[in-house]
Symmetry: C2
Subunit: 278 residues, 2 copies
């Protein structure tokens, strides 16, 4: 996706990196104001009117993306923007912002503080900087340009993934126990049976916990690019590995495995592939 | 359980109620200091040494209960205390504190802010006051003695459960998708297929969200008394209903259904019973 839109950029200079980090932070602040004005309010639940198919897209989602885009358009008018809710903006700078204003809308409408705002920047080579923001807790997990840290109500701390441990001792997370197609489900179950603990329902917060050294694996399927760009940045900056289920680049979405280290990544990837290829 | 230990008490006077609320709050504060000194630290994960059966009980759990008990013993020496981790203390006052210092230890060791400290007081008639405290977010959900409120970083707000809505529009939560025995699992699945959205992994925080009007149902099985006393108080104070799967009192644990209102309670109970009795 990003390959076709962006020009190649050999390297970003330090001033540009600082500017991108500044703008990402401003944009996340703007999104917080919007999302928190809806979260756990009657205004949010008043929109639950649909009958039949469940559509969790909310006004909050669209307004939050508009708020993020307004900051980027003002501060960096020549950058491209790809977001979940609104049309792609094509810019000339060679940089693309990739956004998900509310990742985990089902968590959002259930009141659980596991959803997040995902903001990231990509070059033609893929995502280079990103953040996962949890507005209700006020935690912001940042990764890229040499930074890997969480800022929040308990202070600012470095992010570092877990060292290698045997799969028998590992914790695995995913959002839905159903996990995609039948084959994807069986692959996930095979992995789940090999680890010590499997937990559900964390949305993008699972990647934040992986980066923070709390868990060992996150495995999902059916993702979009905007679901995974920011998590890739945060997890990799903290020392982890994110790939698709073939071991290749994950930034186009689809089937994703995020791992705390190379050892657990290799073991888990092999278990998933045995089922998918079997 | 409480019936055999406690003497009957017709009513508690206002001064006693105030004192119990004060002590519960002090005890929750004491537990916070302990749990947060372990949560997301290397000290917690250093204890993950067991091979084979997974035992999530941690030093934090035991120390937190000791901290709660120390407050109660100092402030209310004649009350009984039943907790998850330590031996039951038999007192003479006719009141029993029922505690779970860390409800959701698997969430605790995974870094998810969905675990909580449960502190409640029971008479011979069952639980009368309780709180669910989430130390990391610093949210405290309180119910009983005419109070139903959440105190936290976003202020103090009244708790009120949702008004009646069709099951097709309801949100259901439980902790594990496996949900107890095969029969219990099938009953849960039958209910899950009738609601709009099922979410997992919230531990005791699910009851807090029910009390806060964010979801419609929490269904669990295999609970202990100390898992459910405080949630009963908080949910009922907010206008909800908590029962076992036969519609009777839930405070002994086992199979529990907590509902936002009488309508959804009746419908969900009927679905569960059709499977269990079928």
């Amino acid at each position: 996706m990003t390959r076709t839109v962006l020009d190649g950029m050999a390297a970003l200079d330090d001033g540009l990196k600082q500017d991108l980090m500044r703008v990402a932070s401003l944009a996340a602040d703007a999104a917080r104001d919007v999302t928190l004005s809806y979260f756990r309010t009657d205004a949010l639940h008043a929109e639950d009117k649909g009958v039949g198919a469940f559509d969790p897209v909310t006004q909050a989602d669209r307004e939050a993306e508009a708020a993020i885009r307004a900051v980027i358009a003002r501060e960096r008018p020549d950058d491209s923007i790809l977001g979940e809710e609104l049309e792609t903006k094509h810019g000339s700078s060679g940089l693309m912002w990739v956004l998900d204003p509310i990742d985990g809308t089902r968590g959002f409408i259930s009141g659980t503080p596991t959803w997040g705002t995902l903001i990231s920047v990509a070059t033609s080579s893929g995502p280079v900087f990103g953040l996962i923001d949890q507005p209700f807790i006020k935690e912001r997990f940042i990764g890229g340009f040499g930074v890997a840290e969480v800022q929040g109500p308990h202070g600012t701390h470095p992010l570092r993934t877990r060292v290698s441990r045997h799969p028998d001792m590992a914790t695995l997370m995913t959002t839905f126990p159903e996990v995609g197609t039948q084959t994807e489900y069986r692959a996930f179950r095979a992995l789940s049976e090999r680890v010590r603990l499997t937990r559900y329902g964390m949305d993008c917060y699972a990647y934040a916990l992986l980066a923070a050294g709390q868990i060992d694996l996150v495995v999902e399927a059916g993702l979009n690019a905007y679901d995974i760009h920011a998590p890739i940045c945060v997890v990799q900056a903290a020392g982890g590995i994110v790939s698709n289920w073939q071991g290749g680049a994950a930034y186009n979405g689809g089937r994703v495995i995020a791992a705390a280290n190379a050892d657990i990544h290799a073991v888990a990837l092999s278990i998933l592939q045995d089922v998918v290829d079997g």
